[in-house]
């Protein structure tokens, strides 16, 4: 607790150097410290969720039941999904936002630094509760990360109560983080940093933050209804009491579809920073990028029921959601076009961030196209709940979101640490990841088209060979990520000193105005932006 005099002393000397020891991290209000904690937490969760994926792939290596019980298999698919969505991808983006947005807009810190600390520190507790529920009597959540009723109500284990409350905390954390980002961007920009001068990463996060504030409360609402249905005798999702299980899906996907853009819009911002830097050209079509991002966000609110084509809707509604969904490919196409046009006749070099960005553009587009296929109502009847869907969303989330996060880490590591990473080792990480991710997810398309259902621990014999290949790709992808850990640790401990602007084509306040290692407080007076 700080009395007034402490506060004034701190205020006067601006506490330039970080305090020492563990309490620095527990009490910090510094956006860089909090950003680092988000990123490390995200990586820890990435490995945890990844370990669960390894269990899934080990079980699916051969037909029949080898290693785990079906109920445990279900818990693995469920918690793998929850951890990767809420524990790995979202915190990684929030960590990047914390590190980068204040530097990019010329602000001293986030607008609400103490709330920033709170938003981070409730996350580890939320995941402690979620993971602990795996060890409870009756097991942890086993109803899929989408927790459809009545799997999560009538047929759920008792630990669903812990699941509900841990999701509440994750939601509170995301909402506070998003409020902080949005207020920082709206209120803390340096003089002259007008909206249409903002780097695209800042723009995409502004829109992402809006989506988060709009839909995380809806998630809180739907988990609350699950809780009351399970424990307090309500029947929101039970036809016998006048409710409807399909109601669950409507509310969930009203949250869920904007949620998938929450996990990809910041990627667009990252790629829009990296591609121009290594093409040594300005980004093609800046304004159209901003409008495309906003259009995608707007459309995300009216497409949710494309996840539910097979669950009961009038045909007119299915057509509406089909056309709206296909409409999203227009602004997304604008983005991909702009990235390619940025590279056109550029002096391209292929350092690791650029390699990941290029892989992102190609693989995310594949994921986008399979999404377009899934959007077509009549064919979705065949693809629904098969491995085709699994292939689709892993292409956009792993080789999309995760690859962009990797690209961002390599791109900004020199600014974060003041040191260069080992380019050779990083390239090894890239090529291992690129090959294994395709061995892992591309054959899943064929499994799905062949009719293999998702979330089942056993399968028909004709799928055996392809599943074995997929599993090998999975193990290879999992191991490859340990190289990433090695690169980061080596960079921090013994990297070569970096220059203030290690990428000659890079643009932005963080490269132009700050030294090689960004100081603990970047801007104590606002820079002038021309």
């Amino acid at each position: 607790m700080s009395s007034i005099s402490d506060v004034q002393i701190d205020h006067d000397d601006h506490h330039h150097a970080p305090p020492k020891g563990l309490m620095r991290w527990v009490l910090t209000t510094n956006h860089k410290d909090i950003g680092s904690m988000y990123l490390w937490f995200s990586f820890a969760m990435f490995l945890t969720g990844g370990a669960m994926a390894m269990v899934i792939r080990a079980e699916l290596f051969q037909p029949g039941l080898q290693f785990v019980e079906p109920n445990f298999f279900n818990q693995m698919t469920t918690v793998h999904g929850l951890i990767m969505v809420f524990g790995a991808v979202m915190p990684a983006f929030t960590g990047l936002a914390n590190w980068l947005i204040p530097m990019m807009i010329g602000a001293p810190d986030m607008a609400l630094p103490r709330m920033n600390n709170w938003s981070f520190w409730i996350l580890p507790f939320a995941f402690a509760i979620l993971l602990a529920s795996l060890f409870m009597e009756g097991g942890g959540p086993n109803f899929g990360w989408t927790f459809y009723a009545p799997l999560s109500t009538t047929y759920a284990p008792d630990s669903v109560a812990l699941f509900v409350f841990s999701v509440h905390i994750m939601g509170i954390s995301s909402i506070m983080g998003a409020i902080n980002v949005i207020v920082t961007i709206m209120n803390m920009r340096a003089p002259g940093m007008t909206y249409m001068k903002l780097p695209l990463f800042v723009w995409t996060w502004l829109i992402t933050a809006f989506l988060l504030i709009a839909v995380m409360p809806v998630l809180a609402g739907v988990v609350t209804m699950v809780l009351t249905d399970k424990f307090f005798g309500t029947s929101f999702f039970d036809a016998a009491g006048g409710g409807d299980p399909v109601l669950f899906q409507h509310i969930f996907w009203f949250f869920g579809h904007p949620e998938v853009y929450i996990m990809i819009l910041p990627s667009f911002g990252i790629i829009s920073a990296i591609v121009p830097a290594f093409s040594r050209k300005k980004l093609f079509g800046y304004a159209s990028m901003v409008y495309a991002t906003a259009s995608i966000a707007g459309l995300s609110f009216i497409v949710w029921a494309h996840h539910m084509f097979t669950t009961g809707m009038p045909v007119q509604a299915e057509l509406f959601f089909m056309y709206c969904t296909m409409l999203i490919s227009v602004p997304t196409g604008v983005k991909v076009f702009n990235w390619v046009a940025t590279m056109w006749r550029g002096a391209i070099s292929f350092e690791t961030p650029m390699l990941f960005a290029l892989a992102f553009i190609v693989l995310f587009t594949i994921g986008g196209f399979s999404g377009l296929m899934l959007a077509i109502t009549p064919v979705d009847f065949q693809y629904h709940d098969t491995y085709f869907v699994v292939a689709h969303f892993h292409y956009v989330l792993v080789s999309g979101a995760i690859f962009s996060i990797m690209a961002a880490c390599y791109f900004w590591l020199p600014k974060w640490t003041g040191k260069m990473y080992d380019e050779g080792l990083a390239k090894l990480h890239f090529w291992c990841s690129l090959i294994s991710v395709n061995v892992l997810f591309f054959p899943m398309h064929f499994l799905g088209l062949g009719g293999m259902p998702r979330r089942i621990p056993d399968y028909a014999l004709q799928f055996a060979d392809v599943n074995a290949i997929v599993s090998l790709g999975g193990f290879a992808f999992g191991l490859s990520q340990l190289i990433f850990l090695a690169v980061v640790i080596k960079c921090i401990r013994s990297g070569e000193p970096a220059t203030a602007k290690p990428w000659e084509g890079a643009e932005g306040l963080e490269w132009d105005l700050l030294p090689a290692k960004a100081p603990y407080h970047s801007f104590s007076t606002p820079p002038e932006v021309k």
Binding site: H15, M115, W121, I122, N187, M188, P217, A220
Partner: protein, 291 residues
């Protein structure tokens, strides 16, 4: 945007966020265990939950205490005031979306789920085979599985409560005007009247719940009508309770001489929150009670 900042103000480290994180952890896990133990003999979950509530209350006192001290000693700039205002607005927007989820459930139940159960759309045969007796009406006083209840009318208590809450919004506005003109007497008077109205609303709401449970057989588990009724009015009631607590704190701070006509973010945030709660009630009154 006026950019009149000289040196940025970066607040000092604080112990309160981590205290709050531990508090939320205790509340969440405690609530989880409490709910699981509803039908069992064990009851220690409640103790974890209560401990969490105590920790959070301590955190609120400590954290707000710090902020008030810092604000009173003039550490805050105009820019920070804007940050607080914008943060509060976005928080209220998130609350709007929270209620939207429950209103969405209500509209879906009324427009789709219940008519479909009665055979609308292409469900004629399903209704005939599963629940031939079922009548699709709203308020749904008899569910498909036969639970019966009564509908809550809008005359009487709900109407009185609506008048009370609307009046309280108006009196709070008068208080706000008093604050802005630095007229402390009308400020205190109008705020006090607002508080009395807020308490009155809560008392009457409890009265209504007792009436519903004991005389009407309208309970939380009496089908989708009771579900939506109690979750919507219940969450609204919780927000009114929080609003009354916040306004009480504001009243005590005003008695101590806090705030000026130009600087009164805390009071303004409280008043925004109260108006928001009032608007939610008006929607509730229309869609839950009248229609």
């Amino acid at each position: 945007m006026s950019q009149a900042h000289d040196n940025y103000y970066v607040p000092a480290q604080s112990i309160w966020p981590i205290v709050g994180a531990v508090g939320l952890f205790l509340i969440a896990s405690g609530a989880g265990f409490t709910v699981q133990q509803l039908d069992s003999e064990q009851g220690w979950g409640v103790w974890v939950l209560s401990l969490g509530v105590v920790v959070i209350i301590a955190m609120l006192f400590g954290w707000f205490g710090n902020v008030i001290q810092e604000s009173m000693s003039g550490l805050y700039s105009e820019q920070m005031d804007r940050s607080f205002r914008q943060g509060m607005s976005w928080f209220i927007f998130s609350e709007v979306m929270f209620f939207a989820a429950f209103f969405g459930a209500l509209f879906y139940a009324r427009m789709i789920a219940v008519p479909w159960l009665g055979g609308a759309s292409n469900n004629a045969m399903t209704a005939e085979v599963l629940w031939p007796e079922f009548e699709a009406i709203w308020p749904l006083i008899k569910t498909p599985d036969g639970t019966t209840t009564q509908a809550m009318g809008w005359m009487g208590l709900p109407l009185i409560n609506t008048l009370i809450l609307v009046t309280s919004s108006i009196t709070l506005h008068f208080a706000h005007v008093g604050m802005e003109k630095d007229q402390r007497k009308p400020l205190k008077l109008w705020l006090f009247i607002t508080l009395v109205l807020g308490f009155a609303f809560l008392v009457l709401q409890v009265e209504e719940y007792i009436h519903a449970y004991q005389e009407m057989g309208l309970t939380l588990d009496s089908g989708i009508y009771g579900n939506t009724f109690f979750l919507l009015t219940g969450f609204h009631g919780m927000h009114v309770t929080l609003g009354v607590i916040i306004l009480t704190v504001m009243f005590l701070r005003i008695l101590k001489g806090h705030f000026t006509g130009k600087q009164h973010f805390g009071f303004m945030a409280a008043s925004w929150y109260w108006h928001f709660v009032d608007v939610v009630w008006l929607l509730l009154f229309v869609f839950v009670y009248i229609l």
